[in-house]
Symmetry: C2
Subunit: 453 residues, 2 copies
C-alpha cells in the first residue's frame, strides 16, 4: 500500500471501529493481504486491534489465522490472550506450527498448558517439538510440515502421493529420504515436470544438498541461504534424519531481525524497542542502558579532574579538549561499524582478526596524521601558538590510534566471549575515546603548560 | 564452510598459487560452490585472484561464469578488466544479464563499447536495456530472462513449450500474459502438477498478482517480497507489459546492501569501505568524512570559548561538562537508530512522523528527569555542593530533550529532502548534543557561578 492510501485506511478503520460499523470495517479490509492487515494493526491501539481481529475471525477464520501468522509474536500474543480459549485453539490449529510455537511460548503458563491440552494430538506434538530446540536455532524457525519422497519411488507414484497429501506448504524443493528418513537428495518441481513418469526419484535427484542442523544458529542458516541463493534449506538432526525445512521468507525475517539487533545493540537499545511503543514503555526499556552509560560516561570527569590545575592556568585546554574527544569518537564509530557489519556478514573469520586489527590501526594512524596536521596547522594560523598546534595535532593522532585499536578490539572481544559483537559497543567506545582523548590532550598540555598559559 | 577449514583452504590456495601448482589449485576448488570460491577470492590479493580465476576458466567455463556472478561487481570488474577481450565476451554471454549489467557498467568506456559490440545480439540487448533503468530500481536488478505463458494455452501445451525452452532460470512462479504481453496472472509449478492436461491456463491462474514497476526503488521491491513472503516478483512497465522478474536471492542481496548502507551512512562511512581494502584505500575513503566531521566538531570549542571566564573561576565546570555532552550523545544515538531503522523497514510513514517526534521527546524528557535527578543527587552526595547538583541535573534534562528532538528531526529531515535518512546522522547529532550540552551546562554554571567557584 502507498503512504497516502495507508493513511486513509488507518483513519477509516479507526472511524468504523469507534462508531461500531463492523460490516463497513470488514468490507474495508476483506481484500487486503494478511500482511497489510497486520501492518494496519500496528497503527491501532490494543482495544481497536481486538475489534478488528474479531470481525475478521467471525467472517473468515482462515484470514484471521493468516493475520496472526503475520503479526510479531509479541503483538499476536496480546490479541490471543484476550480471546476465549476455544477460539485460541481453533486459531492455533489453523496456523503453521512454526508460527504457533513462538506465540504459545509467550502465553501465561496456565493458559499455555490448557491450549496445548485442547489442541489435537498432531499439531501439539509439532509445536512441543519446536519449543524443545534452543532459541534462535534452525530447529526453532523450521517448519516440521514438509513433504519428503522416498528415494525408491518413481515420479508418477510420487505425484499421486503428493496429490493425496494435499497442500504441501511452499514446496519449492522436494527432499528425498531413505527408509530411515535420512536426507539423501533433493528434486525440484521442475525436474519433476520434465521427467518420465517411471523414472525412479533416485535417478533425477541431486545428491549434493546443502543442509543445516537443528541446533545451527539462525544467523548461520540465513548465511547459508543467502550465500547459496536458496529458497529453502533442509534441517537434519544428529542422525542425519530430515526433521524440518526453513523457507526463505523466514530467512528474510531472520536477516531483518538480526540487523535490527546489530544496530540497536551498538547504541545500547533493547531490541524490542519500537516507535509505536508508549513513551513510558520506551523509557523503561532505555533507562537501564542509560544508567550503565552514566557509569561509563563518568570516567571522563574523573580523568579531567586530575588536570584541574593545568586547566586553571590555561583555559584554552578546556576549550579544545572536546574536539580531540569528538574526533576520536567519530573515527572509532567508523571502525566499530565496519567490524560489526563484516562480522555479521561473515567476512571476518578468525584468520583475519589480527589482519583486521593491524589494518584499522594503520588507517587510524594515517587519518590521525592527516587530520592532526590540518588541525594543528589551522589552530596555529588562528591562535598563533605553535605549542597549542603541536599538542592538538599530537593528541588527535594518538586518539585516532586509540579509537582504531579500541573500535576493533571491542566487537572482536565481545564475540570471543560469546556475546553479541555489537553489544553496547558505542558506549564503551565513547568511554575510551573520551577519557583517552582528555588524558592525552591534557597530559600533553600539562607538559607544555608554560607555553599555553 | 567452517572457519577452520576455510583457514586451511586459503593458505593452501595461496601456497599452490605461489609455487605454480595450478592442477592442485584446481583440484582444491573444483567441488566448491561458486559462492565459496567467491568468498575465497575475497581473501586473496588481485594477482592471486587472477591466477585462480584463469585456472577455473580454463577447466570449467560455466563455473568461472558462476563465480563472476557471485562476486561483487566492483571485485568482478577488476578481474574482467585483466582478461583478453574475447574471454570477457565469452564470460559475459554465459552469465545472466542482470549480473552482467552492473559489471559492464563499471568497465572503462572504450572496453565497454567493444564488449557490447562483440557480444551476440540478444544478450547485448538485454544488458543495454537493464542499464537504461535508474540505479537501485527494480529495472536494474530484474532478470529479463523469464518464461511467460499465454493465458489462452492449456497446461499440456504449456509444459511442452517449457520443455522446448530448456533452462528457465529459477522459475518458481510462472507468470501469465495476454496477447499484448500484459501481466494477467500467475501459476505455480505446483498448480501445474495437479491440473488436468487440457485445462486452460486462464482457469488455474491466480489473477491477484503483486507486481512492481521498472522504476520502483529496489528497497520498496525488497519490502514487497519480504512483507508478502514471495520468492519472486514480476516487474511491469507503464503499459502493464511484463518485462522482468526479481528473485528472492537478489532481494536478500538488496536487504543486506541497504542495511550496510544504513549503518555506514549513520557513522559517515563510504558504503564501499571493506575490511579487506588496503589501509591506503580506506584512509582515502574515510578522510573526506573526517574532514567534514572536523568542521562539525569545531562548533563545540567555539561554544566553550565563550565561557572561558566562568571556567577559570570554577574549573569544576570543565570537569563535568563532558559528562553532560556524552549522555546527550548516547541518548541521541538511541533515538537516531530507532528512527533510521523504522524508516528502513517502513514503519514510519508520514502519518506518524509527528507522533514519532512527540513520543521521542517525551522519552527524552522522562529519561532526562530520571538520569538528571540521579546524577544531581550523586554529585551532591560526593561533592556536597547543591548548586553543582542542580546545574548538572538540569543540564542533563535539557540535553536529553535536545538529543531526542535532534535525533528524530535529523533522519526525518534528511528523508524529506530526499537524502538518505542515515547520512552522517551521528556526526550531526554529536555536533548538536556536544555543543548544546556545553552551552546549557556552562550557561547554567555561569548563572550560579558564585556558588560553584
Amino acid at each position: 500500500m502507498k503512504v497516502k492510501s495507508q493513511r486513509i485506511v488507518i483513519s477509516s478503520a479507526r472511524k468504523f471501529i469507534n462508531i461500531g460499523a463492523l460490516t463497513r470495517l470488514w468490507n474495508l479490509v476483506k481484500n487486503f493481504h494478511a500482511a497489510d492487515i497486520a501492518s494496519l494493526m500496528n497503527h491501532l491501539i490494543l482495544r481497536e486491534r481486538l475489534i478488528l481481529f474479531n470481525i475478521i475471525y467471525e467472517k473468515d477464520k482462515d484470514k484471521s489465522a493468516e493475520v496472526s501468522s503475520e503479526l510479531d509474536p509479541e503483538d499476536a500474543v496480546q490479541i490471543v490472550e484476550a480471546l476465549p480459549i476455544e477460539q485460541i485453539v481453533v486459531l492455533m490449529q489453523m496456523m503453521p506450527s512454526d508460527d504457533v510455537a513462538p506465540i504459545i511460548e509467550l502465553l501465561p503458563e496456565e493458559l499455555k498448558d490448557s491450549v496445548l491440552t485442547l489442541m489435537e494430538q498432531k499439531p501439539t506434538e509439532d509445536v512441543m517439538e519446536l519449543l524443545h530446540y534452543g532459541e534462535e536455532t534452525a530447529g526453532r524457525i523450521m517448519s516440521p510440515n514438509f513433504y519428503a519422497l522416498n528415494e525408491k519411488t518413481n515420479v508418477s507414484d510420487a505425484i499421486t502421493a503428493m496429490q493425496l497429501e494435499g497442500d504441501v506448504e511452499s514446496a519449492f524443493y522436494l527432499y528425498v529420504v531413505n527408509d530411515q528418513h535420512q536426507l539423501k537428495g533433493v528434486v525440484s518441481l521442475r525436474q519433476f515436470l520434465f521427467a518420465l513418469p517411471n523414472t525412479p526419484i533416485k535417478n533425477i535427484m541431486t545428491t549434493d544438498v546443502i543442509s543445516v542442523h537443528t541446533e545451527t544458529d539462525q544467523e548461520e542458516v540465513a548465511r547459508n541461504v543467502a550465500d547459496y541463493n536458496l529458497v529453502a534449506i533442509p534441517v537434519i538432526d544428529t542422525e542425519n534424519t530430515l526433521v524440518g525445512v526453513v523457507t526463505v521468507d523466514d530467512i528474510i525475517d531472520v536477516i531483518e531481525q538480526e540487523t535490527t539487533e546489530d544496530i540497536y545493540k551498538m547504541v545500547s537499545l533493547d531490541t524490542s524497542d519500537r516507535i509505536q511503543d508508549s513513551p513510558l514503555t520506551s523509557i523503561k526499556k532505555r533507562l537501564p542502558f542509560l544508567l550503565l552509560s552514566l557509569l561509563t560516561a563518568s570516567v571522563s570527569p574523573w580523568v579531567v579532574s586530575h588536570f584541574r590545575g593545568s586547566i586553571q592556568q590555561a583555559v584554552t585546554l578546556a576549550v579544545f579538549m572536546p574536539l580531540v574527544a569528538a574526533l576520536g569518537g567519530i573515527a572509532g564509530n567508523q571502525t566499530i561499524a565496519i567490524i560489526v557489519r563484516e562480522l555479521a556478514i561473515g567476512q571476518i573469520e578468525w584468520i583475519s582478526a589480527r589482519k583486521a586489527l593491524s589494518k584499522e590501526i594503520l588507517v587510524g594512524i594515517g587519518n590521525g596524521i592527516v587530520i592532526g596536521t590540518i588541525l594543528g596547522g589551522i589552530s596555529y594560523l588562528l591562535i598563533r601558538n605553535p605549542y597549542l598546534g603541536l599538542v592538538l595535532g599530537l593528541a588527535v593522532i594518538i586518539n585516532l590510534f586509540v579509537a582504531a585499536l579500541v573500535g576493533t578490539i571491542i566487537p572482536l572481544f565481545l564475540k570471543l566471549i560469546k556475546l553479541d559483537p555489537a553489544l553496547g559497543s558505542v558506549s564503551l567506545l565513547t568511554m575510551c575515546t573520551d577519557s583517552m582523548g582528555f588524558a592525552v590532550f591534557l597530559g600533553l598540555g600539562t607538559l607544555f603548560l608554560q607555553h599555553l598559559a
